[in-house]
Amino acid sequence: MPTEVIGAKQLSKALKAFTPDLAKEMRKELANLLKPIVKDARGFIPGEAPLSGWGKTSENARFPEWDSRAAKAGIGYKTSPSKPNRQGFRALARIVNVSAAGTIYETAGRVHPNGREQNPIVKNYRYGGTQRGSDKRLSQSSNPGAGNMFIEAINQYGGIVDASNQTGAGRRTRKMRGRAIFKAWKEDGGKTNGAVLQAIDNAKLRFYKEIMKGR
């Protein structure tokens, strides 16, 4: 059961309103706690394209071009509370991987470890003849083993790590699996999560003390 914090948003607002210095300190403390994980996660991003062709520039390619620097820069953290999700929970801090290529490297093979099934050849009703189906859930490649080859090539740099058994906010789902930030999170072993919660609690206590002092 993930640990829940109550009133963090209000605490944040109160800190900003009454003790701005304390608010800054809390954000800084949270950042210091999250940075090591980000650093580790960035270290899991390869310095070169996992596949030789991935790093080549193509004007017509829709697939995001690999850029190690961008992929590493895409990994970061946020200390501002998120919007509530549909279940009514908001995250107080987050580690994110936002670059397109970095996200692909992080998650490729998470759902289909052996690559997606190939789209079948279907009839082209508009122009006649046949074409490959356009189901987005299936592979568009003419090579039936394209997905598997791609994943195998990436796995040479690092396999998918399951971090769903680690502590953290939200549900423990298959989405807690990846090659960079989740691997770092797994290796952290939940220490950072506890430290973040502790930091917030400490800030709360300090806020109360400051308020009490003010009175």
Binding site: P2, E4, V5, A8, G88, R90, A91, V196, L197
Partner: protein, 618 residues
């Protein structure tokens, strides 16, 4: 707008509640606020504000109700049922209480049915039936009444919505009495059952509330819930029947409102005994104004008599109209039945006709002599094809077969045109064109073969190298040489050698010229020479005539050659080769070359043998 990343690890979660919870919370807060405001209004401002609102709502409701009553009365009067106005109001009031259907719906329904049936009794009967039907079918009451009123005059289309389990044809064949019976069977007790349910109870409450609203207003009713301490609407239901006493207690509690409400029309309306016998309301005796218990004064006795007479008349009229409608329905049903029967018969006839046409078509095929002949011819050609040995025979048979096929195609096309079957016409035309193309190809092939034959024949040099001709020519030369030599030849004979034989040129009994001995006189020699010269002239003339005839034949041949595409007289004058045709030229010139041979022989003889003799000229 920033998009939340999908690849994210969340730390430290805070439950802030779902949106729906928040909405509910907001609504609850507002409700609480409203309740407080209401309590405040009741506690503080009710004395003035609520009384004013009540007065307005009550007056409006009363005015609307009165207006509806007058409209109904007017409608009934227009259709000759004026006597039934009071009875109608009583019935509507009673039905409203029993069925939980507002009088706002019952009055138009009553008016509609009364217009159609012309009978108050029938109208009330149908209104009760409509209640059961609407409860059972799920349709609203107004729609059900509309369907029934239409069905009464023979329009049964709407009855389909009621799912009676009957086809449209069956419904049309039924009169309204039968339909009514069927409806009673299908929906018996549905209304009562519906009223026993929670929804029915709510409907009753709604009617009671609505009636209350007509007099005291919805706002006051809400206030009464609060003030009387009722546990919501359910608690108030039990108090609706005794609303007058509840109202009295409310009035007592709100103080000044009591005096304002005592003796009003609204209070009268809420009296349970209002429609029964006048009764009491608010401790004050109310005059008997209800429809159920009128005093029998002289005036009222007269009125009742006239009403009775009107009722009888109206009922009789309604019965008569009903009979007419029933008769009309029967006639329509009979007509529909007859139409259906006629359609069935027509369909059967069409089917039989189609079968007959098919059989006739087959029969026509069987006895169509033209087709028979064509088929026989085709079979004959097929047999001939089996016996054919040469290519030309096969070609000729193929031509014949193709022509027969084209004949068949033409017949098929004619039949298709006669039947006006466009598809058949198109296909027959296509087949005919295809067969015509085949025939054209075959004929061209035939023409080509014939042309080749003609050319080959013309190329054969049989006239020049014919052995017989050559032999004949040599024999002639020999005879001439003999003649000229005057020795061995047999003058005047007609001996033959080969098919041609020797020609005597018409000279008979001429003594052959012996060898000159030197003793002959000059005159004799000259005489012989003259004779030979005459002979040569005669021969020359004969030969010239023969050659002219041959020349004519040759010209004719050349003309034909020109037509055929070969040599022509004018070909060297810019005409070129002829256009060609299928004419076959077979001319055998058996004397061709004779002239040259004879001339050469004469010249040779003249040059080397006997240069003294004149050999003549050609």
């Amino acid at each position: 707008m920033a998009v939340e990343p999908n690849v994210v690890i969340n730390l430290g979660a805070e439950f802030v509640g779902k949106k729906a919870f928040k909405q509910a919370d907001t609504a609850l807060t507002k409700l609480t606020g409203s309740a407080k405001k209401l309590a405040g209004a009741v506690g503080v401002a009710y004395g003035v504000k609520a009384i004013v609102s009540y007065g307005k709502a009550a007056m409006k409701a009363a005015a609307d109700d009165q207006k509806a009553q007058k409209i109904l009365a007017s409608n009934l009067k227009n259709i000759g049922l004026a006597y039934a106005s009071v009875d109608a109001e009583s019935f509507i009031s009673s039905m409203e209480k029993q069925t939980a259907i507002l009088d706002d719906q019952l009055r138009p329904a009553y008016s509609q049915l009364a217009t159609v049936t012309g009978s108050a009794t029938k109208t009330q009967e149908l209104m009760q039936l409509a209640f059961d039907v609407s409860s059972g079918s799920g349709l609203d009451y107004a729609s059900t009444v509309d369907i029934l009123s239409q069905a009464y005059i023979g329009n049964t289309k709407g009855l389909k919505q009621l799912n009676l389990g009957l086809t449209q044809a069956e419904l049309k064949s039924m009169d309204f009495a039968q339909i009514q019976t069927k409806l009673r069977q299908n929906f018996a007790g549905a209304g009562g059952t519906a009223l026993d349910t929670y929804a029915g109870s709510m409907a009753k409450l709604s009617v009671a509330t609505s009636n209350a609203s007509e007099t005291i207003g919805t706002a006051l009713l809400d206030a009464m819930i609060k003030i009387t301490g009722s546990q919501g609407v359910d608690g108030l239901i039990s108090k609706i029947d005794t609303l007058a006493s509840a109202f009295a207690s409310v009035v007592t509690e709100v103080g000044n409102a009591v005096s304002a409400l005592t003796g009003t029309a609204a209070q009268k309306a809420f009296s349970p005994a209002y429609y029964v016998s006048g009764g009491r309301a608010g401790g004050k005796t109310v005059a008997a104004t209800g429809a159920g218990n009128m005093a029998l004064s002289v005036l009222s006795q007269d009125t009742q008599k006239s009403d009775l007479a009107a009722r009888k008349k109206a009922e009789n009229d309604a019965i008569r109209r009903n009979k007419e409608l029933a008769k009309l329905a029967r006639e329509q049903a009979a007509a529909a039945l007859a139409t259906t029967k006629a359609k069935k018969e027509q369909a059967a006839l069409d089917k039989a006709m189609a079968a007959a046409q098919l059989a006739l078509g087959k029969g026509t095929d069987v006895f169509d002599m033209e087709k028979i002949q064509l088929n026989a011819a085709l079979i004959g050609q097929a047999e001939a094809l089996g016996k054919a040995t040469t290519g030309s025979q096969i070609l000729a048979i193929a031509n014949d077969v193709q022509r027969l096929k084209i004949k068949q195609d033409i017949l098929a096309l004619e039949e298709a045109i006669a039947s006006k079957d466009i598809q058949a016409i198109i296909s027959a035309t296509a087949k005919l064109n295809a067969d015509l193309k085949v025939l054209s190809a075959l004929q061209k092939q035939d023409l080509t073969l014939l042309s080749i034959k003609s050319i080959l024949d013309s190329l054969m040099p049989k006239d020049l190298i014919n052995q017989k001709n050559l032999d004949d020519a040599l024999a002639k030369i020999r005879a001439m040489m003999d003649l000229l030599a005057g020795g061995t030849g047999k003058t005047g004979t007609t001996g033959s050698s080969g098919s041609g034989g020797k020609k005597d040129f018409g000279i008979k009994d001429v003594t052959p010229i012996a060898k000159l001995t030197g003793k002959e006189s000059i005159g004799a020699i000259l005489e012989v020479t003259d004779a030979v010269a005459v002979l040569a002239d005669v021969m020359a003339q004969i030969q010239e005539q023969e050659n002219y005839a041959q020349y004519l034949s040759l010209v004719d041949f050349q003309k034909k050659l020109g037509d055929f595409g070969g040599y022509s007289v004018n070909m060297n004058r810019g005409a070129g080769y002829g256009s060609g045709s299928s004419v076959t030229v077979e001319i055998i010139d058996k004397t061709s070359g004779l002239i040259e041979v004879v001339q050469n022989a004469v010249q040779e003889n003249n040059r080397f043998g006997n240069n003294l003799n004149f050999a003549g000229a050609l």
